[in-house]
């Protein structure tokens, strides 16, 4: 093979869309851990990842009788492995298992309605808050790691045409941070500070952009991103440390259900129209 041919192949090489998420999260985990030791330990991370994959395999087999692609479980396991903070192993495993199980229990019109990790984290905070917390510190002490992850993340998200979701959410977050600082008399930088941390990077890059649990239209997605930031503001007024997770937990499924119903109605109308046309002809 000539250099020219190699070069042509490189130019035309495309990562399959299904692998973009797993590759991105793997890059984030590996870079963050080897730079800053962000993981609590490989055993805990492996527990989250392993349990996510096993739970997905077992439950899918029970429900459909078939084995399935595990990339979604891989992302959920990674997210649980990074986001859960606990000196014990079991909260990592349990969060991963609950995340995956939620996909098979809470369904509407054939699809799950919560982002699995979001569901797992919120439920764990409700049932096991004395044994775990959520990642809330930053990547090291310099700005570069944070910027690199944001840039790479946005580039990848752009590839799957979901950058508008991140953009609307972030703009809304900053706007609401300003409103919160006006309302509480607090320091604007303190209101903005959380978005500079890794918890928000995972939230923005992986949760609110989860293709399975986002609505079908571009405008709808942007509106939902805005709503998440809005609801988050109210949770922040109530001093909820993990406000974004709670906001997505509430807004996400409601938006998805409305979207499904609206789509159905639209489809019905279309079908109805075409039937009438058929009769006329």
């Amino acid at each position: 093979m000539t250099t020219l041919q190699l070069s042509e192949r490189f130019k035309t090489f495309k990562v399959p869309p299904g692998l973009i998420g797993p590759l991105l999260i793997t890059a984030v985990v590996v870079a963050a851990h080897f730079s800053f030791g962000i993981l609590d330990g490989w055993q805990k991370f492996a527990a989250a990842l392993g349990v996510a994959v096993i739970t997905e395999s077992v439950l899918h087999k029970i429900v459909t009788g078939k084995w399935r692609n595990l990339s979604s479980a891989y992302i959920s396991g990674n997210s649980a492995g990074i986001l859960v903070r606990s000196p014990m192993i079991w909260p990592f495993a349990l969060c991963a298992a609950i995340s995956i199980a939620s996909k098979y229990v809470f369904r509407f019109r054939g699809t799950h309605i919560w982002n699995p990790t979001n569901f797992g984290i919120v439920v764990m905070l409700l049932i096991a808050s004395d044994s775990m917390a959520v990642l809330s510190i930053q990547w090291g002490s310099n700005m570069w790691a944070m910027l690199v992850i944001w840039i790479v993340g946005f580039l990848v998200i752009s590839k799957v045409k979901l950058f508008h979701v991140c953009a609307v959410y972030m703009i809304s977050f900053f706007a609401f941070a300003w409103i919160r600082s006006l309302y509480t008399g607090g320091i604007f930088l303190a209101e903005v500070a959380p978005i500079t941390g890794p918890m928000y990077q995972l939230f923005v890059l992986f949760m609110i952009t989860d293709p399975k649990t986002t609505v079908s239209t571009k405008n709808g997605r942007m509106f939902v991103a805005f709503l998440i930031a809005l609801v988050e503001m109210f949770f922040r007024f109530g001093e909820a440390v993990y406000a974004p997770f709670y906001a997505l937990f509430i807004v996400g499924p409601i938006a998805l259900i409305i979207d499904k119903l609206w789509q159905e109605r639209k489809d019905k109308q279309l079908t109805g129209t075409s039937d009438i046309e058929k009769i006329r002809t």
Binding site: D40, P87, S131, I137, Q138, M143, V192, A193, E239
Partner: protein, 614 residues
């Protein structure tokens, strides 16, 4: 065909099977979310905690703690330092330390006295002299070591005692946010300030100091751990950018110092030369003991906002940081205290480091590092087994102290908890979490930290008393044994204050009164103690290791020059023996290298042992 109809399962319609599958999946989900609830119920079921009752506690746990603070004449109340007004909006967390306690027999009358630090300018430190009749009297003023919180010089953060000039009397080193001070003990009749002639620096924001003889020359050297950067004057700030630059990876703390005793009353700063100026972590606690049996004391540091460190002493010439290789320097937490003890009676030292755990917000867990194997000839490898042994989840921890409270031969753990108790039912965690989750540019500037406005911050937490069952588990018994204290405890020291052979407790609380607990121990439990005096070694015998060989095992303790969080316990080494009637022998490893073996010792008394000169 009836026959086949019986053998074959009836055909399940697709819809019915789907429902069945749904039920199975839902059941699995319900089981999963009920796991934490089930674990809590199991813990409650297996717990045998009861309200404080001396008879029951003595019978079941072998000891009971009685709060005797007032009745023995101790009325000390700590007041926090008032720092620069630009930090007043977060004053309770900036000035969250300074309450400390150290035990000393300053006049060699054979009774344990104790020294308490205060921190607000004008407030006085106290030296409580043991009157021998069960009461104590504050003599700090007449001894010249009371009025030490002075604008321009700084606020007291702690103290540590050691006979630096080998004259037989314990001298006082006081560390501050400000100028550290050395006071020479004049035959137990008073103290003379010798800071300038000793050659100590003008300003360190220190929260820990320990005595050790790092080069085994017979003179005590001084290690001082820096917290805030030494260029920061907390009482006259030049910049508000003095907070940590990261919550778990901070790189802008104070330097650590080692001052080598020259033997003539002066000290030389050898920190850089021996390799202690390699990092700028926020050191909150230090302890020194020979953890690798090299004969030289190693230094273990608990660092806030970062990883902990072990500095292995190589032949008294230099230290090298083996935190990562040893296993405890990788995951960053908020190290607050270091305590060293033979937790499983295996004749080796384990290390206990407290951190911060707050339900639902920050779960770091405390660490109990036990040696597992050697990485190399002089580097032991440690494994954290705090979870397995049940001593992991404290709360906002400060001093974590190993002490055998019931004289049964297994060292227990007293862990001080609680950060800022202010207005009840308020909470600063939300604001705190916002800032510490932010980037360097945000977290480093005190101006960006939201005001506390009298809010409680991990306050009203109860100290833990974990009782070692000797079989690999600890049980929390504070409520049942009378030790249910929910003040903002910082520093804890133990001493046989009443000459009963049991370890009484002194707990210093931030911006609150000190508490003294008299320890009533089951009389059937025997003990033995050793008062060591060095000849070739430093006279305080700091760094000596005592190995007690019993019928079934051997266990070790060491003479500490300060440990846990800002504390120092009684100098004599004390071993509980349970119902054992004798010991096989005692092996003394003096800092000089001399090894002394002693047989046939009487139990239930302290034995004074002078280092053999041959």
């Amino acid at each position: 065909m009836v026959f086949f109809g019986i053998l074959r399962p009836p055909k399940v319609p697709a819809m019915k099977k789907e429902v069945q599958n749904k039920i199975v999946v839902t059941l699995i989900f319900l089981i999963l979310i009920s796991i934490p609830f089930g674990m809590k119920k199991y813990e409650e079921f297996t717990s045998d905690s009861f309200d404080a009752d001396m008879d029951m506690a003595l019978e079941r746990y072998g000891f009971f703690l009685e709060d005797v603070t007032e009745s023995i004449g101790v009325n000390f109340v700590h007041r926090r330092a008032t720092v620069d007004e630009r930090l007043h909006h977060i004053l309770p967390q900036i000035s969250s330390v300074g309450a400390s306690v150290t035990v000393v027999d300053f006049n060699n009358d054979g009774l344990h006295d104790f020294y308490l630090t205060n921190s607000e300018f004008g407030e006085k430190n106290a030296l409580y002299k043991n009157m021998g009749d069960g009461t104590f009297k504050d003599v700090a003023e007449e001894m010249g070591i009371a009025d030490l919180n002075i604008p321009g010089l700084g606020a007291s953060m702690g103290s540590v005692w050691g006979d630096y000039n080998n004259n037989g009397f314990e001298d006082l080193f006081l560390y501050r946010w400000g100028k550290p001070e050395l006071f020479r003990n004049e035959n137990g009749e008073g103290f003379t300030r010798v800071t300038e002639e000793a050659g100590l620096p003008d300003h360190i924001n220190a929260n820990t100091a320990i005595w050790l003889d790092y080069n085994r020359n017979g003179f005590l050297d001084l290690f001082i751990g820096g917290y805030y950067h030494e260029d920061v004057n907390l009482f006259e700030l030049t910049s508000t950018q003095m907070m940590p630059d990261s919550y778990e990876y901070a790189t802008n703390g104070g330097l650590n110092f080692l001052f080598e005793n020259q033997g003539d009353g002066t000290f030389k700063d050898v920190s850089e030369q021996v390799g202690l100026h390699q990092s700028r972590r926020w050191t909150l606690a230090a302890a020194a003991a020979d953890i690798n049996d090299s004969g030289f004391p190693d230094i273990i540091l608990a660092n806030d906002y970062g990883v902990d460190e072990i500095f292995i002493n190589r032949n008294g010439e230099y230290f090298f940081n083996t935190g990562q290789e040893a296993g405890l320097g990788f995951v960053p937490k908020s190290g607050m205290s270091v305590s060293i003890g033979d937790v499983m009676n295996q004749n080796s030292f384990a290390i206990y480091i407290t951190n911060i755990s707050e339900a639902g917000v920050l779960m770091q867990g405390n660490n109990l590092w036990v040696p597992t194997r050697q990485v190399s000839e002089d580097i032991p490898r440690f494994r954290n087994i705090a979870g397995n042994m049940g001593v992991e989840i404290g709360e906002w921890g400060y001093a974590g102290k190993f002490v055998d409270l019931n004289n049964n031969g297994n060292i227990d753990l007293y862990v001080a908890n609680g950060y800022v108790s202010d207005e009840p039912d308020t909470d600063y965690w939300y604001d705190y979490a916002r800032v510490v989750g932010g980037n360097r540019a945000v977290i480093i500037d005190a101006n960006n930290w939201p005001p506390m406005n009298n809010r409680t911050f991990s306050g009203y937490q109860t100290n833990k008393i974990w009782l070692n069952d000797g079989a690999g588990r600890f049980r929390e018994v504070a409520r049942s044994v009378g030790g249910d204290l929910n003040l903002d405890s910082r520093s804890v020291a133990y001493a046989d204050l009443f000459g009963t052979g049991s370890m009484d407790l002194i707990v210093a609380n931030q911006h609150q009164p000190v508490k003294i607990y008299r320890n009533h121990v089951k009389p059937e439990h025997n003990w033995i103690g050793f008062k060591l005096e060095g000849t070739k070694s430093n006279r305080s015998a700091i760094g000596a290791t005592v190995i007690l060989h019993r019928e079934n095992n051997s266990t070790r303790k060491y003479v500490s020059g300060g440990d846990a969080f800002s504390s120092q316990s009684q100098r004599p080494v004390h071993f509980g023996l349970g119902e054992e009637k004798s010991i096989r022998r005692v092996e003394l490893r003096w800092p000089s290298g001399t090894v002394q073996i002693i047989d046939e010792l009487e139990l239930n008394q302290y034995h004074k042992i002078t280092e053999a000169t041959e």
